[in-house]
């Protein structure tokens, strides 16, 4: 047979050609507000808790939402919840980010094997302060401890930055005046 055995389409608005929606397998993750809380949890060791916190701090600088105006950051996270980021704008201006309010890891729980939970910082937004969220704004849990999180939320979050300008692609296309840019 020279053709695909089956075809499933969901994104393009299909109701007809729909598949079994892929259920995302969950990952087991540990969530704590700080190193001490982690170390006092059954089965967790201080050294590992500290190493994971340090990893999360590095990730925090990379992946926390970034703002060029502290007021915008405070509007999203609360007045006392923002700090200056080490990054700068290209003109030497300050960049702000929410403070790290907790962290998530998976390493100790998978018996030494590779965990699918990327060690990462967590935040709480002003309009949903009960829940911990990742740098990609994925909700993970309402309380600390060991819990299941969706595998999409367990992945390493994306690098956040400040855009200096946009629109640097597309002008050559506009000059050509064609309807579609494929061939």
């Amino acid at each position: 047979m020279k053709r695909s055995k089956s075809l499933k389409l969901a994104l393009m608005g299909a109701s007809v050609l729909v598949l079994t929606a892929c259920d995302q397998p969950d990952e087991t993750a540990a969530i704590f507000e700080n190193i001490d809380e982690c170390a006092s949890y059954e089965g967790f060791e201080l050294e590992q808790c500290r190493t994971d916190w340090e990893t999360a701090e590095v990730e925090h600088v990379r992946t926390a939402p970034k703002y060029t105006d502290v007021a915008d950051c405070q509007a999203d996270f609360g007045d006392a919840q923002c700090e200056k980021a080490p990054q700068q704008t290209s003109s030497g201006g300050s960049v702000f980010m929410p403070m790290m309010m907790g962290y998530m890891m998976g390493s100790m729980l998978s018996g030494g094997g590779r965990s699918n939970v990327a060690t990462q910082p967590l935040y709480r937004s002003k309009d949903d302060s009960k829940n911990f969220r990742t740098g990609d704004n994925q909700k993970v849990a309402g309380k600390t401890g060991v819990t299941k999180v969706a595998s999409s939320a367990a992945r390493a979050p994306s690098t956040k930055t400040s855009t200096m300008r946009r629109g640097g692609f597309g002008s050559t296309a506009a000059r050509s005046g064609t309807r579609s840019f494929g061939g």
């Binding site: 075809l7 299909a14 990054q87 992945r155 061939g183």
Partner: protein, 386 residues
Amino acid sequence: MHRISIEERSNWKDLADEVGFKFHTIDGTRYWDESACYRFTLKQIENDIEDPTAELEHMCFEVVERVINDESLLERLAIPKDFWDYVRQSWLNRERNLYGRMDFSYDGSGPAKLLEYNADTPTSLYETAAFQWVWMEQAMEQGLIPPDCDQFNSLHETLIEAFKSLNLDGPLHMAACQGSLEDEGTVLYLEECATQAQLKTHFIHMEEIGIDAKGRLTDLQDNTIQTLFKLYPWEWMMRDEFGQSLSNCGATFIEPAWKTVLSNKGILPLLWEMFEGHPNLLPAYFADDPRASKLDAGYVKKPIYSREGANISLIEPGQADLVIPGPYGEEGYIVQALHPLPVFEGNHAVIGSWLVASQPCGLGIREDNTAITKDTSRFVPHVIRE
């Protein structure tokens, strides 16, 4: 190879609207046309399309290998000098390619002749991979065609596998230009495939892409872009404002930069030079090559960079010249021996042979009332049946 008139499914337009196939009719004119289908035997597909496509892909790799090591050829293909190292590195690093479409003139007998290779931004993917597949399943169910038909089309599954093989850790950004329903449709379909391969995807328009202080590309949420699928030609990326930031932006592109060597019609004279006489190739020369005068039985003149038939001239002795206007041609032309498309009841048909990760896996046919295929040419499905 036969063209057979058949009955259309009574509700196909409703279905098209439901699945988001918004460009089935363009400016009131048919684009998707299921009032007919083409029929091939399995031997025709395997021997005349599938195998030659695979062989030509390997020949094209030899062309890329030669071009990246020869500055006079990089110049001939109008690749800007600032990008020669970038394109070379992209090839040497074996950056993965996702897809491409070779267009052939083929009438069912005799070797299929390569007209060109859309190696960077091929379109009609959704129609070929998905809508054509569904058409056949439903047409068989409804008794509009015999129940034992097959189709050369495993594009959907092969695309999902190819996305999985990318082994991406981070998200995949996927971009089309603003204002084109077709291009957005193609990218949305690819996004569907990537999602089924468990990738995290973000759609963005090319014009919305930004740049940060470190020269990294960004999306509308200010995330950096690590991997970008772009339905936007490399030759335009290189000439746009952000083109100068490409070598330092740290992003991986699909299609990779080395594909710009192949999506250039300059490969046709190069293939002829390196593999003269190959049954699936037509004689071809750069327009200013004195050997071009050998093509006295008729030739087609095409710009090095052009798409959808624009700026193509068809010159046949004893016939009026057929010239399509358009905005291309600045970078030079090639000429290729004329090998007319087969005509079925006034319909000139071109075979689009698809590759995914360099593997041939699908066929889509376009028809036009004239000898040159354009962006308004219709898409007609096909079946395999003995």
